[in-house]
Amino acid sequence: MAGQEVKLLGAWFSPFVHRVEWVLKLKGIQYEFVEEDLTNKSPLLVNYNPVHKRVPVLVHHGNPIAESLVIIEYIDDTWKQNPIMPQDPYERARARFWAKFVEEKFTEVIRGTIMLEGEQQEKEVKQAREALDVLEGELKGKKFFGGDTIGFLDIVLGWIAIWLGVIEEIACIKVFDSNKYPFIGKWMENFAELPVVKENLPARDKLVLYFHKIRQFGLASAVKK
């Protein structure tokens, strides 16, 4: 269909996809959402992201961009309204530093717990809690990591406001503790209340069912090996 210059290849359950949607909505960018079946990847997805074959992929004027953090910086570079990244180079370096910290020390670690059990899983949970300690200190009672309004780090960590509870439930782990992380707790509430987040949240029970299936399937395959 001619005229839709921004397409987002995504999946309803993916926190990485939602990140990109939050940024698009914050900037008021019209886009066409294309739901991908990741169990049966479309030629479109494979063509647009041959290296990783995963979502999200943003397609702008037919040009694909993959990896959520790369996409977010592209959107910020291209549409200047409601900037996500700071303007000052030092502050930008700090924002990127914290985004990388979240991805490597928290997001990937939590993702790992989905497919693990026992001691291996406990090790990852401990690591995740250590990262949360650091983030609690970094937030220090601000409304958002970006100050009064959300910034890059809020967008990058925002998935926990919805998905962390879901993963804790299906993986039978406990990472978040409202007594230990009061600032993060309040931040999660504030984040979930943002209009751009609230308006297209996936249903929690659907997420629980989906990730439960993923875990069961993953654990079963691990046993087979």
Partner: protein, 220 residues
């Protein structure tokens, strides 16, 4: 205003080498402080309390950590010469994508080659070659990943070419045999003084760091 620039460095660190290449490309003067991986300086612990790793660039007293973040910072501050990223947002996104790819795939495979053994090592060798072949396809017929001039992806990948000798020696294989275009690209880059003066000598990495590190870690 006099700029004060200090780099906390370790000679064999591929990540620190990235920053050295970027600073050299831009012709920027700085003080290089050699840190010790096995005995970290108080300055390093103060400037990078979260990761306690090199490289750290200290610019007028303020620390910047994580090599590709430092390199992008350098590119944004000294934006009047030798750009490492294009000004076009789409080109920049592709550059960032491939720099991220190098970051996620090369180091981890390489590490498992020189530190691992048996099946783990064999799997890592296969993985590294596949990654390098993917990068060869991305390079295509270009002189550099950045096109006519060195860019962020070149800077991200070049230091690992200094580590090829270590990977080949520990893994008993030839990277050039499987990925001749990457090796040719690295040789082309080495013709530039900014690169040759910034990368550590491959034999020095193996003899002075790797063998010593393996001993310290109790690996044969």
């Amino acid at each position: 205003m006099a700029e004060e620039l200090v780099l906390l460095n370790f000679f064999s660190s591929a990540f620190a080498m990235r920053v050295r290449v970027a600073l050299a490309e831009k012709g920027i003067q700085y003080e290089c402080k050699e840190d010790n991986l096995f005995d970290k300086s108080p300055l390093l612990l103060e400037m990078n309390p979260i990761h306690k790793k090199v490289p750290v660039l200290i610019h007028n007293g303020k620390p910047i950590c994580e090599s590709l973040i430092i390199v992008q910072y350098i590119d944004e501050v000294w934006n009047d010469r030798s750009p490492l990223l294009a000004s076009d947002p789409y080109q920049r996104s592709q550059t960032r994508f491939w720099a991220d790819y190098v970051d996620k795939k090369v180091y981890s495979a390489g590490k498992r080659i020189w530190l691992g053994k048996g099946e783990e090592k064999e799997a890592a060798k296969k993985e590294l070659l596949e990654v390098l072949k993917t990068l060869e396809r991305e390079l295509g017929d270009k002189v550099y990943f950045g096109g006519e001039t060195i860019g962020l992806v070149d800077v991200a990948l070049l230091p690992f070419s200094s580590w090829f000798y270590t990977y080949e020696t520990c893994g008993n294989f030839s990277i050039e045999a499987e990925c001749p275009k990457i090796v040719a690209w690295a040789r082309r880059c080495m013709k530039k003084e900014s690169v040759s003066k910034s990368l550590a000598d491959p034999h020095k990495i193996y003899n002075d760091f790797v063998l010593d590190a393996k001993k310290k870690l109790g690996i044969e």
